[in-house]
């Protein structure tokens, strides 16, 4: 067993020092190499700066460097002796919903930054709302620039109290939230414990990232696996050099996929959805040999006892805990495109490995992320626009086996795609993963 892998996201608003914090993590874990530092120093001198601008490490596109802003989610990689990290660094101000949703969709943890001088601001509430809706399992509130408030415990406790209250109201369990006072600039509590915060007895940011469990909540859920591809070696070209080699496998028929939730083992009863036939798993194969048990996250090839017609788009599920099969879906939509939602639009919906046609009804609510309330759109001309989050009912051409996003992320999520351009219009979450009160 080697090192494990934690995927996490960072979010914060413009001036809270996120680039500096990311730079600090990379620098202090020795993930920034000499030629990168030199390149940044050269570029900083060219721009007439006295000190190296660490954000240049992160901003990869010409337009970003020219405008001094971060446009797009950037992925960063670093490691320590115990763990590897994939960091989705999401910019705060431009298209924050689109970027935060993208970065958070694969994250097991999110680091949310606030400036100690400002505390919890609107942007913090918006980010926390999106992270809660995406069901990111763990949250870190990094209270940055503590050096600028004189390492004052009272100030920090007040921010912590306000934020934990917010997190609780958004549905985060208390033990999923960790508040850490840091100074990214000076380095307090990022990698090294600070002597200037004796009243803080929690972990450093890196210490916390290294010690949180990485086994996602999906492993404990009922088994789900979208079928990606049917593997049949006899499909090999008869004239190819491989024909003889595959001959012995003439009857092999395996269903390839990545386990989306739960575990699967030979002998398990499974159902093939949406059709509904029940059968038994005989093998959980990998190229390295069969597994006694496959867990969520692993790509496998499953063989079944009965000869059933199964193809790409089907979903294998635990027989004793099945999702509902429906062609009417109540969903939360995060609108990601400049083209707004048109009521009764005919779009494409990609769920697991199946793409089907869908008609999206008129949006019912828009979520006001400042007040954390639902604003009714019924009988108004308003619709969902870029960066809006709202609710609508969808009717699909084919029935889909869906779970509530709050229960199982992989089978409760989907994309809405614009047929003429092929662009992704919205991220969809089945049900309402945020339980909010209607606006007064």
């Amino acid at each position: 067993m080697g090192k494990d892998l934690l995927r996490f996201a960072t979010a914060g608003s413009v001036d809270d020092g996120k680039s500096t914090l990311v730079g600090r993590l990379l620098y202090d874990t020795k993930s920034v190499l000499a030629d990168q530092i030199e390149a940044v120093q050269r570029a900083s001198v060219d721009k007439g700066l006295a000190t190296p601008d660490l954000s240049l490490l992160v901003d990869g596109l010409r337009a970003e460097r020219e405008q001094g802003i971060t446009i797009d989610v950037a992925y960063r990689y670093f490691g320590t002796p115990t763990r590897e990290f994939v960091l989705a660094d999401t910019p705060g101000h431009v298209q924050y919903t689109r970027n935060t949703v993208t970065g958070a969709s694969t994250a097991e943890l999110a680091v949310l930054l606030v400036d100690a001088r400002n505390g919890v601001v609107e942007q913090t509430r918006r980010h926390a709302t999106v992270l809660a809706m995406l069901r990111v399992p763990r949250l870190v509130l990094a209270i940055n620039k503590i050096d600028l408030v004189g390492y004052d415990e009272e100030t920090l406790r007040a921010i912590e109290k306000e934020f934990t209250g917010l997190a609780r109201s958004l549905g985060f369990p208390d033990d999923a939230v960790q508040t850490i006072p840091v100074s990214a600039l000076v380095g307090d509590n990022v990698v090294e414990r600070s002597a200037r915060t004796p009243w803080y007895d929690g972990p450093t940011l890196l210490g916390h990232l290294e010690s949180v469990p990485v086994v996602g909540p999906e492993v404990a859920k009922p088994f789900r696996m979208p079928v990606q591809y049917v593997i049949r070696p006899r499909g090999a070209d008869a004239g190819s050099a491989d024909a003889a080699r595959w001959g012995e496998l003439h009857d092999y028929r395996g269903y390839a996929g990545q386990i989306a939730a739960g575990t699967v083992a030979p002998g398990d009863r499974v159902v093939v959805l949406p059709e509904g036939r029940e059968t038994t798993v005989t093998h959980v194969d990998t190229a390295d040999g069969p597994l006694a048990e496959g867990t969520a996250g692993r790509s496998v090839t499953i063989r079944l006892a009965d000869d059933i017609d199964i193809s790409r788009g089907d979903l294998l599920v635990a027989a004793d805990a099945q999702p509902s099969v429906t062609s009417e879906i109540d969903a939360t939509l995060c609108w990601l495109n400049e083209k707004p939602l048109r009521a009764n639009a005919r779009l494409l919906l990609k769920h697991g490995t199946r793409t089907t046609q869908v008609i999206v009804g008129a949006p019912e609510f828009r979520i006001d992320t400042d007040t954390l309330t639902e604003v009714s759109l019924v009988d108004t001309a308003d619709t969902l626009e870029l960066n809006d989050i709202g609710r609508a009912t969808l009717r699909t051409a084919d029935p889909l086996p869906v779970d509530d996003y709050a229960d199982i992320r992989a089978t409760g999520s989907f994309l809405l795609i614009d047929p003429p351009t092929g662009n992704t219009l919205a991220a969809g979450l089945v049900g309402s993963p945020l339980a909010l009160s209607p606006a007064e």
Binding site: M1, G2, K3, D4, L5, L33, A34, D35, Q36, A39, D59, G60, L61, R62, A63, I71, D72, A74, Y75, Y77, G79, E84, V86, V101, T102, V215, Q228, Y229, I231, P233, G235, A236, S240, D242, W246, E248, Y252, A256, G257, Q258, H283, A287, D288, G289, P290, A292, E293, T295, G297, T301, L336, R409, A410, S413, L415, I417, G422, N423, T424, A427
Partner: protein, 315 residues
């Protein structure tokens, strides 16, 4: 390359019990998922294969994704003509062993008939774009797997795993589709294609650790060997038809190895005595330079060299 494809897949094989995924397992499963998505959704995918370590890793993962069936894609090599013999021999042996079809698009053909002109600096990496795009059109490839990794270069850090290219093969970083969960949107119009990067999330060290774990065979030039080299722009280059040594440059015999393998004119060797994977991993871990910074002249051309090449359709 291990004899994966030959491994019998029946219950007599010792059952592996690895309940949780370590970092390499997680990366492997993600890459396999990407290969299978493309196989399920595209008509004519192709794997870019040069015989270098990243593309050899790609082919290894593709073999694992479809075992015990053969890899359902052909391979495409964009050949600069400035090759290392060891790498071409290795390329051909892999192709033969796996029984795959290899297409070769040759930069030399383009120079011979005047469609491309040799650059003053003799570097041919930037000249690969046109033959690549022509091969994509000629064979009507709709998905092109590349071995690009986000840790290589900062423009690549913003690249999607599935990335749309227009009819001219161009990448527009401002118009990238958001990529959510593991739901990839590869929809494209006729004439457009999608570049796919299954090892986006791997680091150089991950690649080496995995090569060690899986006992993947590589061309010999990745290991330390004695070679006549000359110094240019801070890199050790090998003698060849691309010119050199010239002027005050002189050949010296050094113990070197390659960290990346590309066009011979701009791929430098590093001084090394690492002859085993253990030693290479120790060296990579201790290195203070990125692999591109250490060994690729083409990325030093300007601050946005990679972004500009990618926009034009480079891999």
């Amino acid at each position: 390359m291990t004899e994966l494809a030959r491994a019998p897949l029946n219950s007599s094989v010792t059952t592996i019990e690895r309940a949780t995924l370590d970092a390499l397992d997680a990366l492997e499963s993600e890459s396999i998922h990407i290969f299978r998505e493309v196989a399920g959704e595209f008509d004519r995918p192709v794997i870019l294969f040069s015989g270098g370590k990243d593309s050899t890793l790609l082919v290894h993962l593709a073999v694992k994704a479809f075992a015990p069936a053969p890899v359902p894609f052909p391979l495409l090599h964009v050949d600069t003509g400035h090759n290392f013999d060891e790498v071409i021999d290795f390329r051909d042996s892999i192709v033969e062993r796996l029984g795959l079809r290899l297409e070769v698009a040759k930069v030399q053909d383009y120079i011979d008939d005047g469609r491309l002109v040799e650059r003053a600096d003799g570097t041919r990496n930037p000249l690969q774009t046109q033959p690549l795009l022509d091969a994509i059109v000629e064979h009507r490839f709709d998905a092109v797997f590349g071995g690009g990794r986000r840790d290589e270069e900062r423009a690549r850090a913003k690249e999607r795993i599935m990335s749309l290219r227009d009819a001219f093969g161009r990448w527009d970083p401002r118009k990238q589709r958001p990529e959510l969960w593991n739901l990839y949107n590869g929809r494209h119009a006729p004439g457009e294609h999608v570049r796919v990067f299954p090892i986006s999330n791997w680091t150089e060290l991950d690649v080496w650790r995995y090569i060690q774990r899986e006992q993947i065979e590589l061309p010999s030039i990745y290991y330390a060997h004695q070679r006549e080299v000359f110094r240019r722009d801070g890199m050790w280059l090998t003698e060849g038809p691309w010119g050199g040594p010239r002027g005050t440059e002189s050949l010296e015999k050094k113990s070197v190895r390659y960290r990346t393998v590309g066009d011979g004119s701009c791929t430098g060797a590093v001084e090394s005595t690492a002859t085993s994977l253990d030693e290479i991993i120790a060296e990579v871990t201790a290195s203070r330079l990125t692999e591109r910074g250490a060994t690729r002249a083409d990325d030093r051309l300007s601050e946005a060299a990679m972004e500009d090449r990618k926009r034009e359709g480079y891999f």
